[in-house]
Assembly symmetry: C2
Homo-oligomer: 169 residues x 2
Amino acid sequence: MGRDLDDVDRSILYLLQTDARNTTAQEIADQVGVSASTVRNRIDTLETDGIIQGYHPEIDYEAANLPLQVSFVVTVPPTELTDYSEQVRGIQGVIDVREMLTGRRNIHVDVVGTSTRDITRITDAIHDIGAEIESSEMMRRRHVQPFNHFFLQGTDDMSARGDDSEGER
Amino acid sequence: MGRDLDDVDRSILYLLQTDARNTTAQEIADQVGVSASTVRNRIDTLETDGIIQGYHPEIDYEAANLPLQVSFVVTVPPTELTDYSEQVRGIQGVIDVREMLTGRRNIHVDVVGTSTRDITRITDAIHDIGAEIESSEMMRRRHVQPFNHFFLQGTDDMSARGDDSEGER
DNA sequence: CTTGAAAAAGCGTTAGC
DNA sequence: GCTAACGCTTTTTCAAG
């Protein structure tokens, strides 16, 4: 796990983050200096290797009439963290679950809803699966900022790691 | 702000969340019962209305050799929340910024890095813009779970709101 | 706002280097 | 592993209801 990426991979990831739906393989190929076929092959490999896990639209929930955004901090038994995390993800309205490595407050959950009824329903659902809510805060806005440093993060660093072009692929 | 969506819009959002890159307008059209052209027009409108803000790949940072994931809680002056939020987003390694509506701990920041050097650099950068770090926790995993309830969230609710087919478009 | 048709562009596959 | 070329699918554009 944790395979090295070369510059082509990094460039692909970088450009996909800009617009994963409308960026074509040809456009990426032109900017990277390889063929479009290669870009398609690389993307396939990145997907099967699990580095790219999917493509999702970024949605402005407020504009979509889901103005209530709440962030919960939850405590669950550390040994069953993954299990609880999965259950939380199944609750309607949950859009983001982060599992913490340490500490009591080991799951952070972001949810959206249209009304306070939605929020109380979610609160109840969290309690129902046996998790303890430590705190809840209203969220104003989320900025998902896809990692913008695969590409031009500093050539020195990249060459220093020696994974520029000749990888172990 | 907060325009009503009809079932066609909701279905489009729902299906795009499944796979925003490889789901074609035709596939959506078949499932929704309109033409592919209509689906494309709707997507364009959703984008220009700001409901869809972009398309991003979901990346497994651990598999991409960025194993260090840290979640910061930061305090900034509430009146300049947006300003600070933007500055934080400019820091290399920041992948997610959430602005909180209330409380002292009003910005939550998720970052990724390859080494502790990255993390200290980010910590310094946060301090440099004048924000105070309240806490930092190691993250085990993030599950971005795009809102999965646009489609079949319960027909009763949808008809009760009366925005099924004839909107104010 | 929606539809359908023609032209242009992109994709997956296969074969060759 | 990268590239080129094939047939097929998708998108784009535009006229029309």
